[in-house]
């Protein structure tokens, strides 16, 4: 890549340097990066703190670290029907699951300020007993490069051991089979 033009905006009372134009990066370069990509799978949770429904900030790297406990982070939103279907199913099954494995399900709401106020009454109205994290600025979602929700991340001993992109009925069984095998 070559820099075509560097703009210094200092004369317009901006002291920051921004480079808006780099010349065309060819498709094969993108492909090369993609081919390399499976080599580096993301293994750890990002260093972020997110508030729960009570407004208390929880650190992803410090508050979910119990040894050998399985943490299931399920990304959802109040407007996402399959997400709610998945969480409804897991809410029903979690007591049974917990008898067999030391695990916790965490519902990560990606609702922005349009629908964020709906999270608390929905969680209560559905009688869910998960801990809920509010990812209002979608920092967690972005750090995990999630395009679509539902999206589920399984973490054990601070290592991401499994990812499920999407949900169809029945996936919760596969997910639990996977968890049991860890």
């Amino acid at each position: 890549m070559q820099i075509k033009q560097i703009k210094f905006y200092s004369k317009h009372n901006n002291l920051f340097i921004c480079i808006p134009y780099l010349n065309t990066m060819k498709i094969f370069q993108l492909a090369l990066l993609l081919l390399l990509s499976p080599v580096f799978a993301q293994k750890q949770l990002p260093n972020l703190s997110l508030p729960n429904l009570e407004g208390t900030a929880l650190s992803l790297t410090q508050d979910f670290v119990e040894k050998d406990k399985v943490y299931v982070f399920s990304f959802w939103a109040t407007w996402c029907t399959p997400c709610i279907q998945e969480l409804d199913e897991m809410n029903e099954l979690q007591d049974e699951w917990k008898k067999l494995v030391n695990l916790e399900i965490i519902a990560v709401s990606t609702d922005d300020s349009r629908t964020q106020k709906r999270v608390k009454p929905l969680v209560s109205g559905k009688d869910w007993s998960f801990r809920v994290l509010l990812d209002t600025n979608q920092d967690f979602k972005r750090a995990m490069t999630i395009v679509n929700i539902p999206y589920t991340i399984v973490v054990k001993n601070q290592v991401i051991v499994h990812i499920q992109n999407g949900y169809v009925p029945g996936n919760e069984k596969d997910l639990f089979d996977k968890i049991k095998s860890l």
Binding site: N14, L36, S37, F40, L122, K126, H162, N171
Partner: protein, 560 residues
């Protein structure tokens, strides 16, 4: 630059590979998304494929982290062109955003492009929404400082991304969040307050002796309070005088301030939740360049003004979606006209869980959701030839939109679940989209029924049937969807929307689609063939207009 980049990538590759067994100190991660479409001619819809019928939007996001440092780039490719009705500024392949971030215990500093928001975003939000073509990341610097657990201070400065370039307007701001709960050590209550300040500077060009300033400043105050099952929040924002822009025309003598008030109250306990929101907004369109106000691509937008209505998942309930009305629009012709300066209204949500074993709950439980929203124009006096207005603070003008809906989810057995939805909408098309010919108020009734049946180890079938009765515009529609999930990896679906009630027989179109999706770990690939209904695509209450089209689409996303 090319060599440096490849050197870095290769270096990281070696670093991560060299220590396969020990956890590497360097983390490399990212994702890739591609949405492609092959547009075809469609005799039935009487449309021809556009120039460059093969188009795709592609995004590659690569990050690397080491200790407290993170750096990342996003490369975007729009080849041969961006998908239909995306901002034409998204062109070819280019470096889109990049950042370097240091995150310490108390200080978090980012240089380059970043996303953030203050309060609910009514004064400032930078975000990315690829489906809508929105990416208004600020390029500059952000510092977050948390000296104690109960104080957080953010400051930002920079220019917004627009296409692959930067906006002419300069944005700076600060936000203070103060948790009084921790300060006073409350036990059962939560109380926090926030202060926001944002300014935008855009030089004034080609106007002699302007009566408005290049600098617009906006400030806001907010408070959150909760006690046991009760919670509430309120936010008030003011924006200083700026020239009004309507239909891409700046009115140099029409100078007005803006304001927004948002109040939310809620109560929730086990099995029950209720929430109500009220919002009044006047002249709150806020763009980094004045003339960008109201542009159809949501380009250079500084704040986030979502419509506070329910986002329906029914196909037919999204034909007449409400879009928030923050802007000023005055137009009087032939003695009839439109005078708008904002919106006032609210919504109420209710969620209830009928317990298992009760009459309505049955053996497996029943869930109920009710939502009501109503939005009106501001009441006031509008002076067309002078271009001026005055509004009343708490008075309702003409109604833009209302929506009342009830939704039941009933589980009949462990393998069978149904959902029944009823929706009534009122939509004043003329008032919402600013046309003052005819009187087209559309009232709709929508009924949607859906069922999911599971069988075998992990197979399921889902069907949805919908009908909409509408008294005007395109009138009645019917819709059906059938989805078959073969296993946890493969899904097939087909759907059709049929505008059978259109008064114009030639417009009684079917909008059919059939497709397949494959999922494995972090990857999802979907392919479909069919027709796209023209209209608004809305995500999070912000909409993008798309034209009717036909063709094959392929989308892929993965992360690593």
């Amino acid at each position: 630059m090319k060599k440096i980049l490849f050197g870095v990538v290769l270096g990281l590759f070696q670093l991560t590979n060299a220590q396969e067994n020990a956890p590497s100190p360097v983390r490399v991660y990212g994702g890739f998304e591609s949405n492609g479409q092959w547009y075809t001619n469609d005799k039935g819809l009487r449309i021809n494929s556009p120039e460059d019928p093969l188009r795709s939007n592609n995004y590659l996001f690569v990050n690397t982290g080491y200790k407290n440092w993170t750096a990342g780039v996003q490369v975007e490719a729009y080849e041969d062109q961006a998908l239909l009705n995306y901002n034409p500024k998204y062109k070819n392949t280019n470096l889109a955003t990049y950042f370097v971030q240091f995150k310490g215990k108390k200080v978090d500093v980012t240089g380059g492009y970043f996303y953030d928001q203050f309060g609910s975003g009514l004064l400032y939000r930078s975000w990315e929404d690829r489906a809508l073509g929105i990416n208004n990341a600020l390029c500059g610097a952000r510092i977050i400082y948390k000296p104690t657990d109960f104080i957080s201070f953010k400051s930002i400065a920079g220019r917004q991304r627009t296409g692959f370039g930067l906006s002419k307007g300069f944005i700076a701001g600060g936000d203070l969040d103060f948790k009084l709960t921790d300060f006073f050590s409350f036990k059962t209550s939560d109380l926090s307050v926030g202060l926001t300040f944002v300014l935008r500077n855009e030089p004034i060009e080609n106007i002699v002796d302007p009566v408005f300033s290049p600098l617009v400043h906006a400030s806001g105050v907010r408070v959150n309070f909760s006690h046991n099952s009760f919670y509430s929040s309120a936010e008030f924002n003011l924006k200083s005088d700026d020239a009004v822009v309507q239909v891409n025309q700046l009115r140099p003598k029409f100078v007005k301030p803006g304001s927004a008030l948002l109040v939310n109250l809620g109560y929730s306990k086990k099995g029950f939740g209720i929430d109500g929101s009220f919002r009044r907004m006047e002249n709150m369109g806020f763009f980094s360049e004045r003339l960008a106000n109201g542009n159809i691509f949501n380009d250079r937008i500084v704040n986030f003004i979502p419509s506070l209505t329910k986002q329906h998942h029914s196909n037919l309930a999204n034909i007449y979606p409400y879009q928030a009305q923050p802007n000023v629009f005055i137009n009087f012709e032939n003695g009839k006209g439109i005078g708008k300066a904002g919106e006032i209204g609210g919504q109420i949500d209710l969620f209830y869980n009928f317990k298992k074993g009760t009459a309505l709950g049955g053996k497996y439980g029943t869930k109920l959701a009710v939502n009501f929203s109503n939005w009106n124009a501001l009441s006031g006096n509008f002076y067309a030839p002078l271009f001026d207005y005055e509004t009343d603070f708490f008075a309702f003008g003409k109604r833009y939109f209302s929506d009342i809906n009830v939704d039941f989810i009933k589980k009949w057995s462990p393998t069978w679940q149904s959902e029944l939805t009823w929706i009534h909408q009122y939509y004043d098309k003329n008032l919402i989209v600013n046309i003052n010919s005819g009187t087209e108020i559309i009232q709709t009734q929508i009924v949607a029924a859906e069922s999911t049946h599971r069988f075998g180890k992990d197979q399921s079938v889902r069907w949805v049937a919908e009908h909409m009765w509408a008294n005007a515009d395109k009138k009645n529609w019917a819709s059906a969807t059938l989805e078959y999930n073969l296993n946890s990896k493969w899904s097939l679906y087909t759907t059709d929307l049929y505008n059978y009630g259109n008064s114009d027989r030639l417009q009684r179109n079917h909008y059919y689609n059939a497709g397949a999706a494959f999922r494995h770990k972090t990857t999802r690939i979907a392919m479909s063939y069919g027709r796209q209904r023209g209209g608004l695509i809305c995500v999070g209450g912000v909409c993008r207009e798309v034209p009717e089209s036909s063709g094959v689409s392929l989308s892929l996303n993965t992360s690593f």
